[in-house]
């Protein structure tokens, strides 16, 4: 495969991905602050957090589910991020060792 062709494709895909990242920000300039879309965006973060976590657990299998639940419970109890991540990883690796 021609190096220049690969370089061109990488640049096209890079521009496409940046357009998606900046596009929402630029288009939102024309949005009314009290409109339905603005209200939707204000309420979206927590719900997107949950959906992101569920998607991650699905792709991570049992180890992902166990690790995420343990990390979440540890965070709720201790409010210490390092403790939550350590406990989550330990649980995930233990789960993957028991059920490969």
């Amino acid at each position: 495969m021609d190096d220049l062709q690969v370089l061109g494709v990488v640049c096209i895909l890079g521009v496409t991905c940046y357009a998606m990242r900046a596009g929402g920000y630029v288009l939102a300039a024309s949005m009314r602050d009290d409109g339905i879309a603005a209200r939707f965006l204000r309420l979206a973060p927590g719900n997107l957090f949950i959906a992101f976590i569920v998607g991650g657990c699905m792709s991570g299998g049992l180890a992902g589910l166990v690790g995420t639940v343990v990390a979440l419970v540890t965070m709720a109890v201790t409010a210490r991020e390092w403790a939550a991540l350590s406990a989550g990883f330990a649980a995930a690796f233990a789960a993957s060792a028991i059920v490969p």
Binding site: Q5, L13, M31, L43, L48, A51, F52, G55, A63
Partner: protein, 225 residues
């Protein structure tokens, strides 16, 4: 955009140096297996900077390259960034575009989620978005480069650690988000919708569709927004 916010984001996202580094390494090893040169692989991770878009375009790699199909795949997998960007406008709308637009180059799921959580605690600060984005980008691009520099092979533990950290890290942000919730129904809706989409449609759409369904329920139960 403050220096304190930048520092706070940079420190908070340091674990992503490792997880994105491991994931970038796995991506780099795959590129290497395809016969892509180091410079092209690093440029790919730097410019596209999206695990899902890179994985999908990688699976389409053929001669001749199906450019149009790859562009459509990038748009489909990254459409969630439109929503994230529009939400960031609400947080940082007063900031000059010359500061925000370059920062958006490094926008990632985790940096957006962390910035929202920090905005709830400390108020909106685009410095946090930039600071938290930097370790993630260095990890991802550095990991891709490391795949070419070191005689490594992807193993199970490395793949598992790389796959799990983003999800676990975002899970640690949930307790602080719960205080904004009025009932469990929106979150439950998000979870069920994301589960169904990931199972029956495509995992890359689960965040956008699941989060969207939950937000509609939030809108129905709140009149004041």
């Amino acid at each position: 955009m403050t220096t304190a916010g930048f520092r706070r984001g940079l420190v908070a996202a340091l674990p992503f140096l490792l997880s994105n580094g491991a994931a970038g390494l796995v991506m780099g090893l795959t590129y290497k297996g395809l016969g892509l040169g180091a410079a092209h692989a690093i440029l790919f991770s730097l410019l596209v900077y999206s695990a899902t878009a890179q994985a999908i375009t990688l699976s389409m790699w053929a001669s001749p390259l199906p450019v149009a199909a790859m562009v459509v795949a990038c748009i489909a997998t990254n459409s969630r960034y439109l929503l994230m960007g529009a939400h960031l406008r609400q947080l940082f709308g007063g900031l000059a575009p010359r500061k925000m637009l370059p920062t958006l180059f490094l926008l990632a799921d985790a940096s957006w989620l962390m910035t929202n959580s920090d905005a709830d605690r400390n108020g909106p600060d685009a410095g946090y978005l930039l600071g938290s984005s930097i370790p993630m980008a260095i990890g991802w691009v550095g990991g891709t480069g490391l795949a070419y520099a070191a005689p490594l092979a992807a193993n199970g533990s490395l793949k598992l650690a790389a796959a799990l950290l983003p999800t676990m890290f975002i899970a640690t942000l949930l307790p602080s988000q719960w205080k904004n919730a009025r009932s469990p129904w929106p979150w439950l809706t998000s979870a069920v919708a994301a589960l169904l989409v990931a199972r029956f449609v495509d995992p890359s759409w689960s965040m956008l569709i699941g989060g969207g369904c939950g937000t509609l329920v939030s809108m129905m139960e709140r009149k004041d927004g």
